[in-house]
């Protein structure tokens, strides 16, 4: 990209002939990589392709079995996290590594405090912190408690901390996972500025839009092999996806359109839980998409529809009969189900086997007090087969499955209740492209069985491709309802952001 003026062809960090294996798994073999000074180098790959392992080798957390790493032309032996940081390689991991109860300054200097003799030099630290935050165009105050900041601001604090430590290379692992669009845009501005001032950045992502708006070069890895490195100008989305997946996938999932039946679910003037006056209807064989920025009240609305939080006012009708959604149990009895956004925190029993996960909700649908293990196993085996869940057996613990397979276990849990109305909150978050497509297929098969779907998603292509209608929310209110012909990324975004930003 033109603005990266300080970019040169000389590599600041490179890997030659790297091999790495774990017991039973060979992840990398004869892997080459180089990072030029002043570039943003994106690394793309599906979940499990080896991105995290790669980062850990750069940051010194894991040692390679074979091959060498060069930094500024010199071969380095025995890299460890401490020496990597000293040399100026700063890694920002996917999850926040901050002290939530300390303020920004204390976080920036944790373990590295500026001192006069034995006394901590608070004013100096605060000044330095203010300078860096200003440099990053951030409106965070140095005295804010980190735990109270949003995830975008927390990421900024982590970047500031990396900068404080004389960084030359910053490695970011999926930094935008919990960001909204505004936070993402802000982060990109910061990164571009850093690169202009001579930093080099390795950026891990599987969001294609991010890659194309940010990268100078892109390296695609698959199953621990480097597929290719591209200059961004020579790369198309099709090629990138093809390289990641190893086969052709249409960019937008092409779903069949099915006839839409009678109304099954209706909410009228719902208020409460941060949501004001929202009405919506869903029909048989239809996907109603719900769009909006993070914090617009989408999840809060879903929680009321499922009875997690009781609505203050308003009415809910299921198949034309008014129903008080007092709690999840009453929703389950009316054949509604809720696939939550965070499957690990609210969907799965991670420490338990699939035989304990899959039948758990279906118990609520019958009145007998008994639950037979043989029946649980039979049910679990059926769903493992039907949903193509990759697991050695139904006795596998849920925590040992991959993200996509975990999501399928959550689906199986709800399918077992014979539900009619499905509320999906971010159904494909954090799962790779292949598994996403399988989830879409499962959703379509639900429609074919005449069921109804409400789908919340931040993934715009997904929402547009899957929805028959889209409700857009902003500040807890429904601001638009778009029919099939009106749906486009621009219209949705316009309503979601509001008229103040155009």
């Amino acid at each position: 990209m033109a603005e990266a003026s300080s970019m040169s062809n000389e590599p600041i960090l490179s890997m030659k002939g790297i091999s790495k294996s774990y017991p039973g798994v060979r992840l990398f073999e004869d892997f080459d990589f180089d990072l030029r000074k002043g570039e943003i180098h994106c690394i793309c790959g599906e979940n499990g392709a080896g991105k995290s392992t790669l980062i850990k080798m750069f940051s010194g957390a894991h040692a390679q079995d074979k091959g060498s790493i060069f930094f500024e032309g010199k071969k380095i032996a025995g890299l460890n996290p401490h020496s990597a940081m000293k040399m100026g390689i700063q890694t920002i991991y996917q999850e926040h590594n901050l002290f939530p109860l300390l303020n920004v300054v204390e976080n920036l200097y944790a373990g590295n405090e500026a001192t006069i003799g034995l006394i901590i030099n608070k004013p100096r630290m605060a000044d330095r912190a203010r300078e860096i935050l200003e440099y990053l165009h951030s409106d965070i105050s140095p005295l804010d408690t980190v735990g109270e900041l949003g995830s975008g601001a927390q990421k900024t604090v982590e970047i500031a901390r990396a900068l404080l430590q004389d960084s030359k290379i910053i490695i970011l692992d999926e930094p935008t996972a919990s960001f909204n669009q505004v936070e993402t845009a802000h982060l990109f501005e910061i990164l571009k500025k850093l690169v202009k001032n001579g930093q080099s950045i390795i950026y891990i992502s599987h969001h294609l839009e991010e890659v194309f708006s940010l990268a100078n070069r892109v390296t695609v890895i698959r199953d621990g092999f480097k597929v290719n490195t591209y200059e961004i100008a020579n790369l198309t989305e099709q090629t990138l996806i093809h390289d990641m997946v190893g086969r052709d996938v249409s960019l937008f999932y092409q779903r069949p359109r099915l006839p839409i039946g009678e109304t099954t679910f209706e909410a009228r003037n719902l208020c409460g839980n941060g949501v004001t006056d929202v009405s919506l209807t869903v029909h048989r064989g239809e996907i109603l998409g719900i769009s909006g920025m993070v914090g617009s009240g989408r999840t809060e609305l879903a929680e009321m529809l499922f009875g997690v939080v009781k609505a203050d006012s308003g009415e809910i009708f299921v198949n034309g009969i008014q129903s008080g959604m007092r709690n999840p149990l009453s929703a389950i009895r009316q054949r509604i189900c809720f696939i939550t956004e965070d499957r690990q925190a609210t969907g799965l029993f991670l420490k338990h086997s699939l035989t304990k996960n899959i039948p758990i909700v279906s118990y609520r649908r019958t009145r007998t007090p008994f639950a037979l293990p043989s029946e649980d196993i039979r049910m679990s085996e059926n769903y493992v087969k039907a949903l193509n869940i990759m697991t050695p057996s139904v006795f596998q613990l849920a925590m040992l499955l991959s993200g996509g397979n975990q999501q399928k276990v959550v689906l199986a849990k709800w399918f077992a209740t014979q539900a009619e109305i499905f509320i999906f909150d971010e159904p494909t978050r954090g799962i790779d492209i292949g598994a996403k497509e399988e989830i879409y297929k499962i959703m379509i098969s639900l429609l074919e069985e005449n069921k109804s779907i409400i789908m919340i998603s931040s993934d715009m292509p997904e929402l547009i491709a899957m929805s028959d209608r889209i409700v857009v929310m902003r500040d807890g209110r429904k601001v638009a309802e778009l029919g099939k012909d009106e749906i486009s990324e621009e219209t949705i975004l316009k309503h979601a952001i509001g008229s103040s930003l155009k």
Binding site: N327, L329, R333, K351, P359, F370, M390, L400
Partner: protein, 343 residues
């Protein structure tokens, strides 16, 4: 295949510790105390086995419901002092108010359930740690116990002997006391309940992931309340057995029991973080600690050393469980990785 399955079973490590301990005790006794005559080994004489079973029965009953509470992610430190409170209150009612045996049984059950429900209400309706709430109740029970007794025993003059002093004589020297029969009965019942009922599944679900359990339609608050209520019933039964056997409402009747019970449950493989554990594991844990105390007495180990050895054994048992579950998990994930990367 079957032996591998057996080794993988979650109770195997602790069972192994129990068997090793028993064998070790027999060998030590043979070598250092009795010479070489195995019939002389006091530890495995029928009378001694009967006694050990009798001694563990009270702890065992309390450990059953503690297992439930702990699988669901809770804990109850008050059970020992609650036993003191219930025991002395029962004795007081019998002696000073003149309640009959059956009346006093009903009284104890109601008192126990009401106390536990009160505690359960606070724990289930707030986000307060069960650890600290039950610690508070523990102290209150101790206070009530001394208010009732003034620190003195209340004898029940041989009444209420049915539970503690009835025996089923299998042979002349080997007999099951009533509390032992009751313990075995309760173990089987609770094992069946945990394995074959929705209630049982809910116990694991609530402890495994409270949020997911709530979204799965389980009324988590009331469920926790129910479990503490059940715990009250088990403590009451254990108290009756103990009171009946001792024949006196001693204010120290349950002193330190909470530690014994919790240690047995944890040694038996129940996770303090909830979601994991089972009844037979707990029973093995109770047996292990009971056998050890008995063996150390038989071997004439100095009481001060008994504490040290008991502590070391608890840590050893928990370590065994930790390493075996870690080994199983990594073995499983390796299978998965090769499977999925091949697919």
């Amino acid at each position: 295949m079957n032996t591998r399955k057996l080794l993988r079973h979650e109770n195997s490590p602790i069972l192994l510790v129990l068997l090793t301990t028993i064998v070790a005790v027999i060998i030590v006794e043979l070598l250092f105390v009795r010479g070489s005559d195995i019939t002389m080994v006091a530890f495995i004489k029928p009378m001694n086995i009967s006694n050990v079973l009798m001694q563990i029965s009270v702890t065992g009953m309390m450990a059953i419901s503690m297992t439930l509470v702990m699988i669901s992610g809770g804990i109850d430190l008050s059970v020992g002092q609650m036993m003191c409170f219930l025991g002395t209150a029962m004795a007081y009612m019998m002696r000073n108010v003149g309640l009959s045996s059956w009346q006093v049984v009903a009284f104890a059950l109601v008192l126990a359930v009401v106390s536990q429900v009160l505690m359960g209400l606070i724990i289930s309706r707030t986000k307060l740690e069960p650890f600290i709430v039950s610690l508070g109740f523990m102290s209150m029970y101790k206070g009530f116990t001394y208010l009732i007794t003034n620190g003195r025993e209340i004898t029940i003059e041989g009444k209420f002997g049915f539970l503690g002093k009835t025996y089923l004589n299998l042979t002349e020297k080997f007999r099951f006391g009533m509390p032992v029969i009751l313990l075995l009965l309760l173990l089987v019942i609770m094992w069946l309940i945990l394995k074959y009922t929705k209630f049982g599944r809910s116990v694991y679900a609530v402890g495994g992931n409270e949020n997911a359990a709530f979204l799965a339609g389980i009324n988590v608050k009331n469920f926790k309340l129910l479990l503490y209520g059940v715990n009250g019933i088990f403590v009451a039964i254990a108290t009756m057995a103990s009171l009946s056997r001792l024949g006196t409402g001693n204010p120290l009747i349950g002193e330190g029991k909470e530690i014994e019970v919790i240690a047995a449950v944890v040694v038996g493989g129940t996770a303090l973080s909830g979601g994991k554990g089972n009844i037979w594991g707990t029973f093995i844990g109770v047996l292990l600690l009971g056998c050890l105390s008995n063996a150390l007495n038989i071997l004439g180990v100095q009481p001060h050393w008994q504490y040290v050895l008991r502590g070391a054994l608890i840590i050893l048992a928990v370590l065994m469980g930790y390493y075996s579950s870690r080994r199983n998990a990594s073995a499983k994930s390796r299978i998965l990785k090769t499977r999925t990367s091949g697919a």
